[in-house]
């Protein structure tokens, strides 16, 4: 028991790749640690990309399930986070494709509205007034992001929210570095125009 605890506390300092190796050899706690590390990141990534919580949940679950199912396929040379994000990215792309067949997000106001309802703007620690204002602003930002074409949206999310570098993003989206640069640039351009008003209020 003590030994296990010691190992667990060690887990917190181990790099991802090592934890994967441990997990492959049968240590389930290693997987748990990885889950803890990435759960929030993945959830928010999927959430921002897809726009609703239920789908995001599923994506996270699927991604970790894929980790358990394909643990032998994972190459230790590759970065774990890139691998994990790529799995999540593929899930999201599948969902978006399926969605497009049913509801064309751009052109159905009802659908847009229903999407908004599902996301709960979380509480912040600020005073009620500031809170209301923040919620409003968050909604505006969310709307602007959702307006972006899918490719731009994803690149911007990975850069601005997930703070990944261009190389990693290129690995996840499976494209060239040059393309990543352009996607981010154009995504920012569009956002800039959309959020010009909001940005103006910021001093």
């Amino acid at each position: 028991m003590e030994e296990r605890n010691r190992e667990n506390s060690n887990n917190m300092t181990k790099p991802d790749e090592e934890l994967m190796t441990d997990y492959r050899m049968g240590n389930i706690d290693a997987l748990e640690e990885l889950f803890q590390r990435y759960k929030k990141r993945l959830l928010n990534y999927a959430l921002r990309l897809l726009g609703n919580l239920a789908d995001a949940e599923d994506v996270v679950g699927e991604a970790f399930y894929a980790v358990t199912a394909q643990k032998d396929k994972y190459e230790v040379r590759a970065k774990f986070s890139t691998w994990l994000y790529t799995i999540a990215h593929n899930s999201c792309v599948d969902r978006i494709r399926k969605r497009r067949k049913i509801v064309f997000l751009w052109f159905k106001k009802e659908a847009e509205d229903s999407e908004y309802e599902e996301l709960e703007i979380p509480d912040t620690k600020y005073s009620p007034d500031a809170e209301a204002q923040d919620n409003e602003r968050a909604a505006i930002v969310k709307k602007a992001i959702e307006k972006l074409p899918y490719e731009y949206r994803e690149a911007v999310i990975l850069r601005e929210y997930q703070q990944l570098n261009y190389e990693e993003i290129a690995g996840i989206l499976n494209c060239s570095l040059a393309k990543v640069k352009v996607l981010i640039f154009r995504g920012r351009e569009k956002l800039r125009k959309e959020l010009m008003l909001v940005m103006g209020e910021l001093r």
């Binding site: 949940e57 751009w106 602003r137 968050a138 930002v141």
Partner: protein, 638 residues
């Protein structure tokens, strides 16, 4: 100068993320020292980042976390994709099984009707079994004026579209003899009429079936004091190469043995026929002195060995000024040569800068082989040929192998069938016999199918045509504020056409005041680019404009310009305008309603006056409200 800035902005974006090479970084930093607008831009990007952060992260509630964890640990996602595969296989097997069952039931019904038991006994009915190997094709038209009995034609068509086993049953029923036992006379009657009407000729001439007519006549030889048998067969078929009806004959004369009799004589001559040309079904023993039965055979085999067994295919790559029209032309060419367009697809390739690099189309044509050269010449004329190759492959060896394999299998099949001829004829037995024979039938089908496939590839050459337009040399971007989306969009479309260009992609969304924009990408010939851009600018108030040219020395005013320019447009209606229009529309509607009500109650004057008074008041109030809303929204956007 604008042209340079367009590029630098992108560098600045990467600079903020620290993703530039040292050289690039140095360049940018140097530039930022002197350029105010770029400095501001960098600042804007930073502000954007912080604004984006105003959408905070979602925290994971313990419930949510637990849910996710149990989901993936409990393997909730396990069966998803596998299930899809399984479902597919299941559906495939299920539908396959269903189809087979249906076929069996149909064929079985025919058996029952024909009195299958009797068939095995009756010599003339043996024809039924033999045709299990050929799937008869539908006779769509029989161009022989003799054969103008509607009923016969209808019967024939119907029958041939099912398994030919049904053929005899149908004729029997038609002729009025349904016992199946002694149908010699009846069967011959039916066939006699068929022959009398020239049905078999018509069938052969239609090209839908090979017709083999055979007989065996006994001839008493005085000298030997024996009965000799004269068997002969004639096969009529449609020769695809020459496009005419032809025939081949074979005959035997000899004493084969009394017990063997007519059947053997016929079979012998058939075998000779087979050696000469193509495999055929075993002929039937005819009633004495009468012409033999008709054996209908699937025509997918070529008639004789006179044709070349060579497959020729070609690939052409042509650079054309306009891909869409070249595509149409190519399709026309293939049709004119008696061929067809098998497959086509369009694609657009973009470069990083967003200039449309290529519009390209790929077409796969099938052209009758004798028109191949002609077709290729015409296609090459469509533009400047950038690639071409022609391949031939000789498949005669494979073909001949298939043919001999088929024949060998047939010989075995015939022997087997003969073996079962005189056995008992319970339904069970009959089915067992059927099962034994089936594998041979199947093998023969297989060979035939492959030969048909080769025939198809030989007779129609496959030509793959790659059409593409040269890259856009010039790209422009315009952002324009407008009043009316529909009008603007239509103007752009008209403009594109006028300048001999076209809209590559475009669409607009006008559903709500907050999203009222259109994005259009169009292409115009380079020499019209300047005009087009000037005209586009007039559509509304230009809020953004930039230009990117691959060739800085490109002079748009130059005379002999080839190639195209790519223009992307962002059109939008400012939100306050859209809202105003929306509300005005609503107000107008309400006004109309009021008016209608007022008119409706014109019967009673006083209520009418009162109502119109109220209406007026309401109208005024609404007007005030609308103005207030518009003012408010206007303020918001300032």
């Amino acid at each position: 100068m604008m042209f340079i800035h367009f590029r630098i902005k992108r560098l600045i974006s990467a600079y903020m993320d620290n993703e530039l090479s040292p050289r690039e970084r140095e360049f940018v930093e140097k530039h930022l020292q002197t350029c105010e607008s770029c400095k501001k831009y960098l600042g804007d990007l930073g502000k954007l980042s912080s604004v984006l952060k105003q959408w905070p992260e979602q925290e994971l509630t313990p419930d949510l976390e637990q849910k996710i964890r149990t989901d993936f640990l409990g393997e909730k996602y396990k069966g998803v994709s596998k299930m899809n595969k399984k479902t597919l296989i299941g559906v495939g097997i299920g539908s396959g099984a269903l189809a087979t069952i249906i076929i069996f039931v149909l064929v079985g019904q025919v058996f029952v009707k024909a009195g299958f038991q009797g068939r095995l006994k009756d010599s003339s009915d043996r024809m039924g079994e033999e045709f299990s190997l050929s799937a008869a094709k539908k006779v769509t038209s029989v161009p022989n004026s003799d054969f103008n009995n509607q009923e016969y034609r209808a019967d024939l068509e119907r029958t041939l579209s099912n398994n030919v086993k049904a053929l005899s049953a149908l004729w029997e029923a038609h002729v009025g003899n349904s016992t199946g036992m002694s149908s010699d006379a009846g069967f011959s009657e039916g066939m006699k009429s068929f022959f009398a009407r020239g049905g078999h000729n018509a069938l052969a001439a239609s090209g839908k079936a090979n017709v083999i007519v055979g007989s065996a006549k006994p001839i008493y030889d005085q000298q030997y004091g024996k009965t000799m048998y004269h068997g002969d067969h004639e096969e009529k078929f449609f020769n695809h190469a020459s496009g005419t009806a032809s025939s081949v004959e074979a005959e035997t004369l000899g004493w084969i043995g009394e017990s063997a009799g007519k059947a053997s004589a016929m079979q012998l001559s058939q075998r000779m026929l087979a050696d000469k040309i193509v495999p055929m079904a075993v002929a039937e023993q005819a009633a004495e002195g009468e012409t033999g039965p008709i054996i209908i055979q699937d025509i997918t085999l070529p008639a004789t060995g006179q044709e070349e067994y060579v497959i020729r295919n070609a690939n052409v790559s042509v650079e054309v000024p306009d891909v869409q029209s070249a595509y149409g032309e190519t399709a026309k060419i293939s049709k004119a040569k008696g061929g067809y367009l098998a497959q086509a697809n369009f694609r657009e390739e973009k470069t990083d800068e967003g200039l449309t690099a290529k519009i390209a189309a790929k077409l796969i044509l099938r052209i009758p082989k004798n028109k191949l050269e002609e077709a290729l010449e015409e296609i090459k004329k469509l533009g400047s040929v950038k690639g071409f190759d022609l391949q031939s492959s000789d498949v005669s060896k494979e073909y001949k192998n298939l043919l001999s394999e088929f024949n060998l299998t047939k010989v075995v099949y015939d022997k087997l069938r003969k073996k079962y001829e005189n056995k008992s004829n319970s339904v069970d037995e009959a089915i067992r016999v059927e099962n034994e024979l089936t594998p041979y039938e199947r093998r023969m089908e297989m060979f035939k199918a492959r030969m048909a496939e080769l025939d198809n590839l030989i007779s129609m050459s496959t030509v793959t045509v790659d059409l593409f337009a040269p890259a856009a040399k010039y790209g422009a971007y315009l952002k324009i504020e407008i009043d009316d989306l529909q009008k603007a969009y239509d103007t752009v479309a008209g403009l594109a056409k006028e300048k001999s260009g076209r809209i590559i992609s475009g669409g607009f969304n006008q559903e709500s005041a907050s999203s009222n924009y259109a994005q259009v990408a169009l292409r115009v010939p380079l020499n019209k680019a300047e005009e087009a851009i000037a005209a586009l600018k007039k559509i509304g108030s230009v809020k953004g404009f930039s230009v990117d040219s691959k060739d800085p020395a490109l002079d748009l005013a130059g005379k002999n310009l080839t190639g195209s320019a790519s223009i992307s447009l962002d059109l939008y209606v400012p939100e306050w305008k859209a809202l105003w229009r929306e509300n005005l529309h609503k107000a107008r509607e309400r006004m109309i309603e009021m008016f209608a009500n007022m008119l409706g109650s014109a019967v009673n004057a006083i209520p009418a006056i009162i109502l119109s008074g109220i209406g007026l008041v309401v109208f005024v109030v609404l007007l005030i409200v609308v103005i207030a809303v518009v003012r408010k929204t206007g303020k918001k956007n300032e």
